[in-house]
């Protein structure tokens, strides 16, 4: 920009400043106003460009994009289409209205989880798990489900920005070329590359190649989520970087040492499935594994455990060492945070299990815990049987971490830095001044899906391609590689990391597909095509290595209290938002947290006793100060939280995440995190502030009030009396005024295994995605207007410091004698020929009588216009909606349909083929997502159906059966397998709550 233009822009900015002052619009800096001016200037000069830089997508652009995706679908997703042309001849295998599925891999903290993505005429609409992929095995989690929402997020970055102004990608490439020329001339200082841990073989090969090609390049790994923490911890514990690959299906006695194995980590879906498979008890003779959990904050793993002890984060190491001593036949040191008797019984149980035992250390625990787990597995003979050790799939030869970058950059070591797909300005520990470090670098390049906090400190911002738009490859937790292939051409001209790395290496031509294909050049074309089809590259799993002996540091007994007292902090990534990268996803913001059931914000978790000591109650604000920094957070008292420990969740409170994230209330726990203590910190001061913050929960009562809601019993009680779930139950009345329904064809039904359910919320997210369920925002959520058709109720039983946590997924029960049906004055809720309780949206006038009369309260009402279906208002998210599901307007009731669109599809297929609908042909969205296969669905008229077998179990019971609603959704009572030698303290007398 010339000097004159610069001056006039500044004048315009000052004028705008005056204007902003007058109309009260908040502004942060002159730059921001300047950017507005620039945007206006662009609007005048290049309307087409301004159109793309705008906040919303107009219909014309959307149609263009959809046209592009259609063309792409015709070219089997090769991503090379140059022109948009309508179909002249219909492409083979594309039947309009019939979805196609493509195998791909979605990233999860740098690792890959296989997915099958449903595509309707080139629009990805739904993510399912890939049964052939070892990390998915057909299951998904909530974050994977939300990938389609993130893809169509209208606030994604849409164009490269240079100094905050729109610029072309060609200009960016020119800048990279310039940089390379200058480097070749040898006139430059260092070049920094900041990436997150990645398992992508292509990225790792590219980075390794760059290190060769560019001698001044230094690679820094920024790891806000601790992806590489287990490898580093084991390296410290044994001298060799390894990660454990537990095989839960082989273990009979499992021990979690602060390891949320079911809820976190790249293998969580596979582990949850294996864990549940070891607990699949239907008859009294069936075997069941036993899980002990020692944990420093309540997790869903602890909730699923048969025995759980809450200990402070810094007490886990002592417990692990004490246990190791007991297993070795010695004595445990005094003063452990758990009772010695309890530990002795646990040690006996592990010894008895021998090579069928498994000890797992939390990824964020200290090397001492990892060393103890390694030693335990070795002593018990479990190594190589229930757990294998492999080289970390995310190992990357690097020059340091973010802290090293900051130190070097501030010393003036770099003239250029590439920050790829990471947001260190938000996710850096608070003791690093990343903006200052970036300011000390002449040229900062950032790539990301959003113009985020880091993009605002970069000279160049390049929009990243979403994983569903990308070619790449990723490894699973066991090292298996799988391809990432695009479902749609990049909506906003985003670029993969590979393209930027290639440009840096001087390759400005190769497309991402060629770059990825080059990594797998050893595979011939048929093998590559087969891998793309299957979603897995065969024979790529890492080989197990024998681990060295553990080096056991002395950890003593009870940890010494911190100098000056204070509370212990425990940091956790938000289960859905992670480090905040998913903060702009309305689905994930509105998805209730598994245990707290909080939405649209986070809280500081305190134990009831600590909250009482501090005199604070749910929602009251506290100030937490540690290491000279201070944040304010609302309190949530959580049963099972260790005393004097505060759990803080990362990922909330972002400043520039987008309009959806701006609706949420939350604190930013990164502001309290130090490089040296990323996961726990001691000596925090907590002071009540006397104010109340905004906390929104979807469940207001936590106890079952002595009702038969979640029936539970111990395995021993079930073996004594198979009818234990029905003990004391009055026979349900079965008279009815109305005649019985007849089902000549199918009679659909569902069984939900509450022993298997771990409360992970994947089913709820899957239901939301499949059925285009609206999100309502924080204000409406606070008023009880949330729309989820399926909810997971979480009840506590027993003592607040040692609770029994029970999960109950509650979809529509599709009652045989449905209370909603006779009360509707306009016949909007009716019984179908195949047993469903159908809601006819067009007929509904919104009396809400059906919801009043529903004892399960599963009906959801469109209180306001939650979901604009008008193309002008709907934005790009319109393209994501499932075309097989009816839209619902304001003022009508909706609810779980048993995924009637999937039933219809299966029925149509069966009719065309002139056969019966096979068992397993209809899979509901919740069932498909469930990692533990807790949900079974099928035809009750088919005696061979899996659902009939489930319902035949003596564990099966109907919720609120005495009301004579005769639900088609029934539950298998929750079984626990506590050690008979451990005195049961109130939690399991065999009776049900």
């Amino acid at each position: 920009m010339s000097a004159t233009a610069d001056r006039s822009a500044r004048r315009a900015a000052l004028a705008a400043l005056g204007q902003a002052g007058r109309d009260g619009r908040p502004w942060r800096s002159l730059d921001e106003l300047d950017a507005d001016t620039a945007a206006r200037a662009v609007e005048t000069a290049f309307p087409a460009l301004a159109d793309r830089a705008g906040a919303t997508l107009d219909r014309r652009t959307l149609l263009k994009l959809m046209g592009a995706s259609l063309a792409m679908a015709g070219l089997t997703a090769c991503g090379e289409a140059e022109q948009i042309v309508p179909y002249v001849r219909q492409p083979e295998n594309v039947v309009p209205g019939r979805p196609r599925f493509f195998a791909t891999t979605l990233p999860s903290d740098g690792y890959g989880i296989g997915a099958l993505v449903e595509s309707h005429e080139g629009r990805p609409t739904k993510v399912e798990g890939n049964p052939d992929h070892p990390a998915s095995r057909g299951a998904t989690d909530a974050v994977m489900q939300a990938a389609v929402l993130a893809l169509f997020d209208p606030e994604r970055s849409r164009t490269p920005l240079h100094q905050g102004r729109p610029a072309g990608y060609a200009a960016f490439l020119a800048a990279v070329a310039d940089l390379r020329r200058q480097r070749a001339a040898g006139t430059r200082r260092g070049l920094a590359l900041i990436v997150e841990p990645t398992t992508s073989p292509t990225a790792k090969a590219q980075i390794a190649g760059l290190r060769q090609a560019l001698p001044g390049l230094r690679v820094f790994v920024h790891d806000p989520l601790g992806t590489s923490a287990p490898g580093a911890a084991l390296e410290a514990a044994s001298g060799r970087a390894l990660v454990p690959v537990p095989r839960l299906e082989r273990a009979s006695t499992l021990l979690s040492l602060d390891d949320d194995v079911l809820g976190e980590g790249p293998g969580r879906l596979a582990h949850a499935r294996a864990f549940a498979a070891g607990r699949r008890v239907r008859r009294p003779g069936d075997a069941m594994n036993r899980l002990y959990a020692v944990e420093s904050t309540p997790t869903i793993t602890g909730a699923a455990a048969d025995h759980r002890k809450a200990v402070p984060p810094d007490g886990v190491a002592a417990v692990a060492r004490g246990l190791l001593a007991l297993v070795d036949g010695g004595a445990a040191p005094d003063g452990l945070p758990v009772a010695p008797d309890w530990l002795a019984v646990l040690a006996d149980d592990l010894r008895q299990a021998g090579d069928r035992a498994l000890a797992m250390a939390g990824p964020h625990q200290t090397p001492a815990v990892h060393a103890a787990a390694l030693a335990l597995n070795a002593r018990l003979g479990a190594t190589g049987r229930t757990v294998a050790y492999i080289a970390p799939p995310d190992a990357l030869e690097a020059d340091g971490e973010l802290a090293d970058f900051c130190a070097a950059a501030e010393a003036g070591a770099f003239d250029a830095a590439f920050v790829l797909d990471t947001n260190p300005v938000h996710t850096a520990p608070a003791d690093l001044d990343v903006p200052a470090a970036l300011a000390a670098v002449d040229l900062v390049v950032h790539s990301g899906l959003h113009v985020d906090e880091t993009a605002r400190h970069a000279d160049w911002h390049v929009p990243a391609a979403h994983p569903l738009e990308s070619w790449s490859d990723l490894r699973a937790y066991d090292g298996t590689a799988s391809p990432v292939q695009p479902l749609i051409r990049p909506l906003f001209d985003g670029r993969t990391q590979h393209e930027i790395l290639a440009a840096l290496a001087g390759d400005f031509e190769s497309g991402p597909r060629a770059l990825v294909r080059a990594t797998w050049a050893d595979r011939d074309e048929p093998a590559w095509q087969a891998a793309l089809k299957a979603g897995v590259l065969p024979d790529t799993a890492a080989a197990a290595v024998a681990p060295p002996a553990a080096r056991l540091p002395d950890v003593g007994g009870r940890p010494a209290p911190a100098a000056g007292g204070g509370l212990t902090l425990r940091f956790r990534a938000d289960p859905f938002l992670r480090d905040g990268r998913n903060a702009n996803s309305a689905w994930l913001q509105e998805l209730p947290q598994p245990l707290t059931k909080l939405v649209w914000g986070n809280a500081a978790l305190l134990s009831p006793a600590t909250a009482a000591r501090l005199g604070v109650d749910n929602g009251q604000m506290i100030a937490i100060a540690e290491g000279g920094r201070r944040i304010e957070a609302p309190v949530w008292t959580t049963p099972g939280q260790p005393d004097e420990t505060v759990t803080l969740t990362l990922g909330h409170g972002r400043s520039h995440a987008g309009a959806v994230a701006a609706l949420a209330a939350g604190y930013d726990a990164f502001r309290l995190r130090r490089t040296a203590a990323p996961w726990m910190a001691r000596g925090a001061e907590v002071t009540p502030l006397g104010q109340t913050g905004r906390l929104i929960t979807t469940q207001h009562h936590q106890a079952m009030e002595d009702r038969d809601v979640v029936r539970h019993a111990t395995l021993a009680a079930f073996r004594d009396d198979p009818e234990v779930m029905h003990a004391g139950e009055p026979p349900p009345p079965d008279e009815s005024l109305y005649p019985e329904w007849e089902y000549p064809h199918q009679a659909w039904g569902m069984a939900i295994d509450q022993t298997a359910c771990i409360g992970c919320m994947a089913c709820v997210a899957a239901c939301q995605s499949e059925n285009t369920i609206a999100t309502v925002g924080p204000q409406e959520s606070a008023r009880g207007h949330e729309m989820h058709w399926l909810r997971i109720d979480r009840y506590y039983a027993g003592e607040p410091d040692d609770p029994l946590t029970l999960f109950q997924p509650v979809p529509c029960m599709h009652c045989e004698k449905a209370p909603c049906e006779p009360v509707c004055p306009v016949n909007a809720t009716v019984h179908t020929h195949d047993g469903l309780n159908a809601q006819v949206y067009n007929r509904c006038i919104g009396t809400r009588y059906c919801s009043q009369n529903c004892p399960y309260k599963v009906r959801r009402f469109n209180f306001l216009d939650y979901q604009p279906f008008d193309p002008g208002e709907a934005g790009p998210q319109q393209a994501m909606r499932n075309p097989d599901v009816s839209v619902r307007s304001r003022g009508v009731m909706e609810k779980c349909t048993y995924c009637v669109q999937r039933i219809s599809a299966a029925r149509i297929d069966a009719k065309i083929d002139e056969r019966e609908i096979a068992d397993g042909a209809v899979v509901t969205a919740c069932q498909q997502a469930c990692p533990t296969q807790a949900i079974t669905f099928g035809d009750l008229n088919d005696p061979q159906a899996a659902v009939v077998a489930e319902k035949d179990s003596p564990l099966d019971y109907a919720l609120l059966a005495h009301l004579n609603t005769r639900p088609r959704t029934t539950y298998l009572g929750r079984l626990r397998n506590p050690n008979p030698r451990l005195a049961e303290t109130g939690e399991g007398d065999g009776g049900h709550g």
Binding site: C824, V826, R843, Y849, S851, Y856, L963
Partner: protein, 463 residues
């Protein structure tokens, strides 16, 4: 007839007369007709009417807002999907009941004291039913489709579902509204003729003339009138019981704890009469004062109304006791928990305010002095009006908020729209009463005249 047995009210001070002083028909016609026919109105009337008009605007604004934004704008949610639209509806329907009771049932029972209060009680009924009828429509998620409740032949094969009490409800309210209107209009005919004859301007003569349907007051007319009026009364009388019974079945039919109760029909009918009479008293006391008709609407009327309030109120109180007793005696944990949360839970202040207003304050009416003290009676009637609204709200809300699954428990919090619509409808109702008093005779001229005539004859006969 009771009055003829004890002919002269003045001789029995313990029981005030239904009419004070000697009146004849022309004088009564003149006095009552003048209220309507006089030209200028006192400033107070206009000031009060302006205040009510503001409330009418609030009502219209609130309805517009509700229909354009959606029912989520007022305080409902899941699990408590019914709120003030239902409780106010029941309250208004209840208020409507006194009119029919006074007009039809007391007519059939030949209680002549009803004569001077039945007209405005009937009008009150009509306006209350009009208000009540709006609420279920505003309650709907898609109010513009309310007519789908009607069995109208249509092309989209839509037919009401007869198992739903809401359809019965719709029919019951519609019947009640039509019969009330007919009954009221029938009773107005002779008086409209009086107004026609007394009106001086051509416009009014025409208006009242058309409305009077050619009434000339011949013996033939009177004979026909009497028989049809009694026949309509006989039709209307069962409605007093049926309408509120069916309204109560909306609740009793549902399996919600706190709704599912066989005592609801009688309990609701008694509650309706209770609140209805309270509203009659609330309106009659200022009315008789403002228009100086204390000799026509006498302390005796108020006394009798208060006695009916005691009777109805004690049945309502019995209802409260029986609800609580059966919640305990049933042994149903769901009922017990719901009742317990009603007593100590988030709506406890409403529950206890309702008990004080409806069951405790009422007891003052056992004293004759309280019954005959207009300020005391007015305050008690107001308290009962408030208490009865609270009762309906507590019933509507507390059951679903503490339903079968504790995880689904939640409370409801009201928004400005709940208040906007309720107070707007109250203002609209009172504005309609004001207009009625201005346009039509608020006291039945012919019946009061008849009463005066009978009294005079009786007195002459005994002397």
């Amino acid at each position: 007839m009771a009055e003829t047995a004890r002919p002269d009210g003045e001789r029995e001070p313990a029981r005030p007369p239904v009419m004070v002083g000697r009146h004849d028909l022309p004088e009564i016609s003149e006095r009552i007709g003048a209220i309507v026919l006089r030209g200028a109105l006192p400033r107070g009337f206009w000031l009060a009417f302006f205040g009510l008009f503001v409330l009418v605007l609030v009502f219209l604004y609130s309805i517009t807002y509700l229909v354009s934004v959606g029912v989520g704008a007022y305080g409902i949610n899941i699990p408590v999907a019914w709120g003030t639209m239902i409780s106010s509806f029941v309250w208004w329907i209840g208020i409507g009941h006194a009119g029919t009771l006074i007009s039809a049932v007391l007519l059939l029972l030949r209680q002549p004291w009803r004569a001077s209060i039945n007209r405005f009680a009937e009008a009150m009924t009509l306006f209350a039913v009009a208000m009540a009828g709006l609420y279920p429509i505003l309650h709907l998620g898609r109010p513009w489709y309310f007519y789908w409740l009607l069995p109208l032949p249509n092309t989209h094969m839509h037919w009401p579902q007869w198992r739903s009490p809401l359809v019965w409800d719709f029919a019951a309210i519609a019947t009640y509204g039509v019969v009330s209107l007919l009954f009221w209009y029938m009773g107005l005919l002779p008086d409209l003729a009086v107004l026609r004859d007394r009106a001086r301007s051509r416009g009014r003569q025409l208006l009242y003339g058309i409305l009077a349907l050619g009434w000339r007051g011949s013996a033939f007319h009177w004979a026909r009138f009497e028989s049809s009026y009694y026949m309509l009364a006989a039709l209307a009388a069962p409605l007093v019981v049926s309408v509120h019974s069916i309204v109560s079945i909306d609740f009793a039919y549902a399996m919600v704890p706190g709704y599912h109760s066989t005592i609801f029909p009688p309990y609701f009918v008694a509650g309706a009469l209770y609140s209805g009479f309270a509203m009659v008293v609330t309106i009659a006391i200022p009315l008789r004062r403002a228009f100086s008709v204390e000799d026509l609407i006498t302390v005796r009327h108020m006394d009798n109304a208060a006695k009916i309030m005691i009777a109805a109120g004690m049945i309502v109180t019995y209802g409260y006791v029986s609800e609580a007793f059966f919640a305990w005696y049933s042994g149903e944990s769901y009922e017990r928990r719901m009742m317990w949360s009603r007593v100590v839970g988030p709506y406890a202040w409403m529950f206890w305010a309702m008990i004080v207003c409806n069951a405790v304050v009422l007891q003052a009416l056992w004293w004759r002095r309280v019954r005959r003290s207009m300020p005391a009676l007015f305050v008690i009637a107001l308290a009962i009006n408030v208490g009865m609204w609270l009762e309906r709200y507590v019933i509507v809300v507390s059951g679903p908020s503490r339903g079968y699954l504790p995880a689904a428990w939640n409370d409801q919090s009201l928004t400005w729209l709940d208040f906007g619509i309720f107070f707007g409808s109250l203002g609209t109702f009172l504005a309609l009463v004001f207009l009625f008093v201005r346009v039509l005779p608020a006291i039945t001229i012919f019946e009061v005249g008849e009463l005066a005539h009978e009294r005079r004859q009786a007195q002459e006969g005994t002397r």
